[in-house]
């Protein structure tokens, strides 16, 4: 049986780190902060490892099916007897898998930052924020209650906001952090409303109850829900769709992806942790968590998810080919890879073989965490060395940064899907799943994988080859490749990126908890691998040596290249909507209306009173005889009124 305290400790240790460093870091433990944070995280990483082992190999499997356990559930806020927000821990394959990913990558980042962020003025704050984020992310993963998930969902949002804006005196960083928060917030609105709708029909926030009630088609809940429709779609469909919007926002799915590239303003390790490995896949995790509802009750929404994922994947890949800021390239590749996971879920369905996509998606999530984190950390090392994000400032670094170079190469191969690296296996499964259910998406995915290989190796070659040695040594400082603390995570992650693919993932993670052996056809994997190699060769041909081929290609592509380079002008569109429409057409009128109309009326009443009193002052004329006339007049008036009118 799961041990609640151990599991509870996994998120609580980072939280302790946050509180400790947040309160006292600045004054008392300025230098020790990093070590404290790392130590605490190491603790929770080990606990996570133990939990995973315990679950997968000791108690998790009951007659061949991985069960879901809820070792802990505390009522946090009771709305009524039935409806309440609980704080709970849920233990099932995906949550355990996520535990591993989050704690591991987070640990790597903690260690890496010891070197990368050394000498930062707000070093302790940085670690405090890392702790906060890790806590929130783990809470999200372990959530047993959809509202609990929403709570931690918001918390990861704010910690990402804090970390992106870590260099708070850089306007670009501030802007980026704001953008990230607001865009995701907008998506979260959808999530919230979705929660309200689903919970209204299922009468519960608890995942188990909610899923149980909404996935049995003959249950009253579903009947009611289907009965009440809005714009043709059933309320339940709307709810599921809205929830997916929330997920799309966090996972930077098109068209809610605009915040992700800017988010690279944050420190590079942060990008590695939050915007590559963990937080951005929260959306995928959310969909996976509610997968039964999506697949059984609202297949339409699942269809949408598939397409959104595919579109995001290819668009991001195209844009990535044109970017020159290495972190932005990585950001777009992240978006594209998450697109993969999404449509993998989209093409999947519940139970048995058909659930391959689900498994594949989770598998890709797992491997992607490894190599993408590795890529970011590697990029971090490069940036650390040349003090620039721009490709043109780099080149020929392979001698200068041997370890970085090697690990980066591994990561590139992995993401490009070259066997036997991790990416290959997960991507194979995804493609297979797509092939089985939706050919269109399959083709998109195939092209995307080619593009992926191309832009990754474009990146690789421009950084490590291209120019001759030492051209940039002027820019470079002398502290070499950064110490052990920075290299160790690279190596560890590289091992992961290389070997993770051999894990029999289907054994552990599947829609219904039963084992799902991944069968592997050579024939099938020929196409993607070939495409991948083609992409690599193209990159080699274009970028291995400094030349003008890229420029000519760009020129020949013309409009398309330009559009892609400008990220298809989606940012501009948003800017137009917010700045022009919301501010000028809604905000300004509202403010004006309030000052001039509403308030104006109030003042008007006052002023008019004064005017009246000014107007009637003539009656007090000072003439005693006039007074007498008024006197008499009043008498007469009263007499007339009460003798003739009212009798």
């Amino acid at each position: 049986m799961p041990n609640a305290t151990n599991i509870a400790l996994i998120p609580l240790l980072p939280l302790a780190g946050f509180i400790l460093l947040g309160l006292f870091g600045r004054k008392y433990i300025k230098n020790g902060a990093g070590l404290i944070g790392t130590a605490l995280l190491l603790g929770s990483a080990l606990l996570a490892l133990y939990t995973a082992y315990d679950y997968f190999f000791v108690y998790g499997k009951v007659d061949g099916v991985y069960q879901q356990f809820v070792p802990l559930k505390i009522t946090w806020l009771a709305f009524s007897k039935e409806l309440s927000i609980d704080m709970g821990l849920v233990i099932d394959p995906i949550s355990v898998m996520m535990l591993l990913v989050v704690t591991f990558v987070s640990l790597m980042v903690h260690i890496y930052s010891l070197g990368y962020m050394k000498g930062e003025e707000r070093f302790p704050t940085y670690y405090a924020f890392l702790g906060l984020f890790t806590f929130s992310m783990l809470g999200l993963v372990l959530a047993s209650n959809i509202f609990q998930m929403y709570i931690f969902w918001e918390l990861v949002g704010v910690s990402s906001f804090l970390l992106i804006g870590f260099y708070y005196d850089k306007p670009s960083a501030v802007a980026a952090s704001k953008k990230a928060f607001i865009v995701t917030r907008f998506a979260d609105l959808g999530f919230l409303v979705g929660i309200l709708i689903l919970s209204y029909f299922s009468g519960s926030f608890d995942f188990q109850t909610l899923i149980a009630r909404l996935t049995s088609p003959e249950s009253n809940e579903v009947k009611n829900a289907v009965a009440s429709t809005f714009l043709g779609a059933s309320a339940l469909t709307w709810g599921a769709a809205l929830i997916f919007i929330g997920g799309a926002g966090k996972s930077a799915m098109f068209p809610l992806h605009i915040w992700l590239p800017d988010a690279m303003e944050g420190p590079t390790p942060v990008s590695a942790l939050i915007h590559a490995a963990t937080m951005v896949v929260a959306g995928v995790y959310l969909v996976a968590r509610l997968f039964p509802v999506f697949s059984v009750t609202t297949p339409a929404v699942l269809e949408i998810i598939g397409w959104v994922g595919a579109v995001s994947a290819i668009i991001a890949a195209v844009i990535a080919c044109t970017q020159t800021d290495i972190k932005r390239v990585l950001a777009y590749s992240t978006m594209s890879q998450i697109g993969y996971m999404m449509f993998a879920l989209g093409v999947s369905s519940y139970g048995g073989e058909a659930g391959l996509g689900y498994t594949a998606s989770m598998f890709h999530l797992f491997t992607h965490a490894m190599f993408k984190a590795l890529l970011f950390l590697g990029a971090g090392a490069v940036i650390h060395y040349v003090h620039s994000n721009e490709m043109k400032d780099m080149g020929g670094l392979r001698k200068k940064l041997p370890i970085t170079h090697f690990t980066f190469l591994v990561a590139c191969l992995a993401i490009a899907g070259v066997p036997p690296f991790a990416g290959f296996f997960s991507k194979e499964e995804i493609l297979l799943a797509a092939y089985n259910s939706n050919t269109a998406i399959y083709w998109i995915a195939l092209i995307t994988s080619g593009l992926t290989a191309f832009y990754m190796f474009r990146l690789y070659f421009t950084i490590f080859w291209n120019k001759a040695q030492g051209e940039h040594s002027a820019a470079a400082n002398k502290h070499g490749e950064g110490g052990l603390v920075m290299m160790l995570p690279l190596v560890l992650l590289a091992v992961g990126a290389a070997g993770a693919g051999f894990i029999p993932f289907g054994e552990f993670v599947s829609t219904d908890g039963k084992a799902l052996e991944s069968h592997f056809h050579l024939s099938f994997s020929l196409a993607p691998v070939a495409l991948g190699l083609a992409g690599i060769l193209a990159a080699l041909w274009m970028y291995a040596k400094a030349n003008d081929k890229p420029a000519r290609l760009a020129a020949s592509l013309g409009g398309l290249y330009k559009a892609a380079y400008h990220k298809f002008y989606i940012d501009e569109l948003y800017l137009f909507i917010t700045k022009k429409v919301l501010f000028n057409l809604v905000g300004r009128p509202a403010a004006w209306f309030d000052r001039n109309i509403v308030d104006g009326l109030m003042n008007l009443t006052g002023n008019s009173t004064v005017l009246v009193s000014e107007g009637i002052k003539k009656f007090q004329s000072g003439k005693v005889q006039q007074y007498a006339i008024f006197f008499l007049g009043a008498v007469v008036l009263l007499a007339v009124l009460f003798i003739y009118v009212w009798r």
């Binding site: 409806l83 929403y150 709570i151 704001k178 609105l189 309200l196 501010f583 509202a590 309030d594």
Partner: protein, 492 residues
């Protein structure tokens, strides 16, 4: 526990302040007094929980009744239920904080603190009294102190704002007065809330009286479109004044809307619920959008108050138990939060001598403490989980969603949309002031918070966290009380 101490403590403090010899004495006496009040409030909370735990299910606890104006059947009748306890707790927090942040008031210090304490006194009396007449008396007590606080110690066009506030609130009280007399005569010559709640009042009468009472109290709690005193009043008032206005006074109105208008006239409430919802939904969105355009920190918070208080009115209008609980939570949460917000703005203003967002930047470097608090309160205002705002708003949403028809749905959605707008304006304010590059080298030498400011901030932050992290206790206070009100509305 004898509730009289809740009136006695502030009263004695105020009198002691009057006889104090110098400014130092005044400050320390008021500080001691306010902490005493805080202690009493907490003691009350504990005593209340104890009674409930010993399942004493009386609607009102610690009831007492003293005859006044017997010939008019007026009696000084008081007692508390969960709502009152929560409100009293809120008041005591804000009073302490207010006393602390106005530590460096040099102009007419004695009068300042006297009026401040008088305001607190009014609030305490208001929340414990169960006799409409006495309730009204305490409600009115606070008008003049507000007027003087703004007019004498305020800034900007203070006389104008002070006048506006006093007159609009007086207008509100006029309506309340009429409604009150209406109740008195239709329900057998009694002002006693407990008696009135048992009296049978014909729906026709209720339809006449409810708007009077609700709008009357609504003026106090910035019911759209009668909210215009809020921006001017808050922005002209001295720091502590704004804290009291937004933190306590606006809650008097909300409390009245619920305890007097809705509870005593359920038929009227049902009749007018639609209008209330529409108005409050407008207030929420429109206040939020209006806030987006403000450039003055105090105006930003004032308008956001309009928007936030809208939630509590919305909750009341929704007429479900959860929504009403949420409304009450929102009152408490907003009280603490907005008080803290004004406190921080005051601290910033004392240093930078400007409240214009554009004139600031990168304050985080010079005043990390203040900036951090600013962050926290901002995040609370945009409803971040773990802080009080989230709990209240979510409760309102969930409660509102229980009304299944399209109208309520739309209203709820409109209200929910405001959380995005809120995020926009809060982040703009934070991003421009505490973050970003420092635009003004005069700000490079600024000092961080003093002990008193720190203490005040920490107290209020503690309040925010106490609600945000473990809302259970507040929920236990408010839910049963809300249930009583609900039962009267549903006629059980």
């Amino acid at each position: 526990m004898n509730l009289l101490v809740l009136i006695g403590a502030p009263l004695l403090t105020a009198l002691a302040v009057l006889v104090a010899r110098n400014k130092q004495q005044v400050k320390w006496i008021s500080l001691a007094g306010s902490f005493l009040q805080l202690g009493l409030a907490i003691a009350l909370l504990l005593a209340f929980r104890q009674e409930r735990a010993a399942n004493n299910t009386a609607q009102m606890l610690f009831e007492q009744q003293y005859k006044l104006f017997q010939s008019l059947h007026i009696s000084f009748h008081f007692g508390v239920d969960g709502i009152s306890v929560a409100m009293i707790l809120l008041t005591s927090f804000v009073v302490v904080a207010g006393v602390l942040v106005s530590w460096n008031v040099e102009k007419m210090t004695k009068e300042f603190y006297f009026l401040l304490l008088l305001l607190g006194l009014g609030a305490y009396g208001f929340f414990i009294s169960l006799d409409l007449f006495i309730l009204f008396f305490f409600l009115e007590i606070s008008v003049i102190p507000k007027y003087l606080l703004i007019g004498i110690w305020g800034s900007g066009k203070k006389e104008y704002s002070a006048n506006k506030l006093a007159l609009m609130l007086m207008g509100g009280s006029a309506l309340i007065l009429v409604g009150m007399l209406g109740l008195y005569f239709t329900a057998g010559n009694s002002f006693d809330i407990m008696t009135l709640s048992k009296a049978t009042i014909t729906p026709e009468t209720q339809h006449i009286l409810f708007p009077l009472l609700f709008v009357g109290f609504g003026v106090f709690t910035a019911l759209f479109p009668l909210h215009t005193w809020v921006p001017d009043g808050h922005s002209s008032a001295p720091t502590a004044g704004s804290m009291f206005l937004a933190g306590i006074s606006m809650k008097l109105g909300g409390y009245g809307c619920l305890r007097v208008a809705t509870y005593l006239l359920p038929e009227g409430a049902k009749e007018y619920a639609t209008i209330i919802i529409v108005l409050s939904a407008i207030a929420i969105l429109y206040g939020a959008f209006a806030t987006m355009m403000q450039k003055d920190l105090k105006y930003i918070n004032a308008y956001s108050s309009v928007s936030h208080v809208g939630f509590s009115l919305l909750g009341i209008g929704m007429l479900t138990q959860t929504a009403i609980t949420g409304a009450l939570m929102q009152m408490v949460s907003h009280g603490v939060m907005t008080a803290l917000f004004f406190a921080v703005i005051g601290m910033i203003y004392d240093r930078t001598h400007t409240r214009m967002v554009a004139d600031m930047g990168g304050l985080m470097k010079q005043m990390p403490f203040i900036s951090t608090v600013f962050f926290i309160v901002g995040l609370c205002s945009l409803g971040l989980p773990g802080l009080s705002g989230f709990v209240a708003e979510m409760t309102v949403f969930v409660g509102s969603w229980q009304n299944a028809d399209a109208f309520h749905r739309v209203a709820t959605l409109a209200a929910a949309m405001s959380i995005v707008v809120t995020a926009v304006y809060i982040l703009r304010a934070i991003g421009r002031t505490v973050m970003g590059p420092n635009t003004n080298e005069a700000h490079l030498v600024l000092k961080d918070a003093n002990w008193n400011e720190k203490l005040a901030a920490i107290l209020l932050v503690a309040g925010i966290l106490a609600i945000g992290i473990a809302p259970g206790w507040l929920n236990d206070l408010l839910r049963p009380a809300a249930e009583v009100i609900m039962n009267r509305i549903t006629g059980q």
